[in-house]
Symmetry: C2
Subunit: 255 residues, 2 copies
C-alpha cells in the first residue's frame, strides 16, 4: 500500500493510492485505513511530507561492517525541519558547506518502547525517502549536531510511504541537477533499520508518524544554492527538492 499526504483546498488529507487517484482515508495509521469516499486525481496532485513527525532521529556512523563495533548512535532533528517534495532546502551561506544524504526513512506506526528486533517490523507503518541535509562544517563545532542538522528544510521526506518493502536491500541513489552523484544500497548499513529502531526504543519512546533516517552508506553529496537535489530509494520513489539561500537580516554579522 502507498500512503501520502495530499494538499487540498480544505487542508492536507491522508490518502492511499487507488488506481489513477489518491483515495482520502480517515487515518493513515489505522489498520486498515478507512476510505472516506473522497478522491483526488494523482495527476497534478500536490504531495506534502507524508507524515508530520513529533520525533525525527538520524544515525551517525552507520555505514559498513566496521561500524558494528559501536552501538547505533542517533541525533535528533527538529520536526520544524521536515518538508515535502518540491519544497526548498534553505542553506545559510555563512555556516559553511552543506551536504545531502539519500536515506531510507522508517516511519513508526504505533507507540514503541523497549521493543525487540524480532518485533520491530510490527511497529513500522512503512518506508519513505529521506534527505538528511547536514551543514557539515558545523558538525565539527557541535558534537550534539544541533547546529549541523536543523536548518530550514533540512529534512525533506517523501514522496510517499510504501508499507510493503524489503528494507534490507534497496538501492539508494542521489542526484544533483539530474546527474547521479552517489549510488549505494541499504545493505551497506552497519545496523539494519530494525536493529536501529529496536535499539533507539531502549532509550526513548517513539510513536505514530515519528521518523528514523536509517543512515547514509556512501550517499552523502555536496549541495549549494541553485542546485536541485534528488534522493531515491528503489521500491519507494524519488524525492526532489531545490536548494535556496537563506535571506539574512540586516543585523547579521556572519558565522
Amino acid at each position: 500500500m502507498r500512503v501520502a499526504r495530499v494538499a487540498t483546498a480544505s487542508g492536507p488529507r491522508p490518502c492511499v493510492a487507488d488506481g489513477a487517484d489518491w483515495a482520502v482515508v480517515e487515518d493513515a495509521f489505522a489498520s486498515p485505513p478507512v476510505k472516506t469516499g473522497e478522491r483526488i486525481p494523482a495527476e497534478g496532485a500536490t504531495l506534502l511530507a507524508p507524515v508530520e513527525p513529533t520525533v525525527v532521529l538520524g544515525m551517525l556512523h552507520n555505514s559498513g561492517p566496521d561500524d558494528r563495533c559501536l552501538p547505533p548512535q542517533a541525533f535528533q532533528k527538529s520536526a520544524r525541519t521536515v518538508v515535502g517534495p518540491g519544497a526548498p532546502i534553505v542553506v545559510d551561506p555563512t555556516k559553511g558547506a552543506v551536504k545531502g544524504e539519500a536515506e531510507l526513512a522508517l516511519v513508526v506506526g504505533r507507540p514503541a518502547r523497549n521493543i525487540s528486533v524480532a518485533d520491530a517490523p510490527a511497529y513500522v507503518l512503512g518506508w519513505t525517502v529521506g534527505n538528511d541535509v547536514t551543514a557539515s562544517d558545523q558538525a565539527a563545532l557541535d558534537e550534539t549536531r544541533t547546529q549541523a542538522k536543523n536548518g530550514d528544510g533540512f529534512t525533506p521526506l517523501g514522496p510517499w510511504i510504501e508499507t510493503d518493502l524489503d528494507a534490507l536491500a534497496q538501492a539508494l541513489t542521489a542526484s544533483v541537477d539530474g546527474r547521479v552523484v552517489a549510488e549505494s544500497s541499504t545493505d551497506g548499513l552497519a545496523w539494519n533499520p530494525f536493529e536501529v529502531f529496536a535499539y533507539l526504543t531502549t532509550h526513548l519512546t517513539l510513536g505514530p508518524g515519528d521518523v528514523v533516517l536509517t543512515g547514509a552508506p556512501g550517499t552523502a553529496f555536496d549541495i549549494a544554492p541553485g542546485a536541485v537535489a534528488s534522493c531515491a530509494v528503489a521500491g519507494v520513489g524519488e524525492l526532489t527538492n531545490p536548494v535556496h539561500a537563506l535571506e539574512l537580516p540586516d543585523h547579521h554579522e556572519g558565522a
Copy 2:
C-alpha cells in the same frame, strides 16, 4: 499574566489566571488572549504542561563566566518527554545514574529565525519552570545526548507560564522529598536567556510553544525511583514530580 493549560472533561484548555479562577482563552499566544467566558476554579484544577512544544532545546556548559569562552551549545529533547506537574519521571534502572536540573525555561511566543539579542524579548511568550532530567551516565556514551536526555517524563514543565518576569536574576531551587538540595540563580548562567535564544535562532527556526531550558548553574541533583523531585524559579512557582521505575519487558537483557 499567568498562563496555564488546564485539564477539563472536554480536553485541555489554555487559560489565564483571573482571581480565584482560571479563565479559558481562545489562544494563549494571541496578544492579548481573548477569554471565552468559561471559568475553572483554581482550587482543585489539574494543570498540564503549560505548552505543547514542537522543539525542546537544553543547554550544555552554560554555568559561570568561564563558559562564555565557548559559544552557547544546545541539545534537543524529544517533545514526547514533556510532562506536566505531578506526572512521573520514569527512570530505566538499567541505564545508570539520573539527575534532575532545576532551570528557568523560556517559552517562545512567535516564529523566530536569526533574531538579535536586543529583539529577543519580543519573541518570548513567557517563562516556566523546567526540570531537565538527564541519564547522566549515558552522556559519556553518546555525545549527541540523545541517550541521556530522552527518557519518559524527562522534561517536566510547569506549573504555569509567567509572562512578566526579570529572567536575568531569579533564584533557582531544587528539592528532593521536600528537602532543599541545590540553590542558585539565573544570574549564574554564562549566556543569559536572551543571548541563548538569539544564538539558537542563527541555527534553526523556533516557533510558538517551543521551549529553551536555559541551563543549570549548579542546580543538578540526584534522583532515583521513589523520590519526589521539585524545582522552583522565584517569580514563577514550583514544579513537583514523582520518580518512578520503568517497567522492562521480558526480553530485556540489560544496558
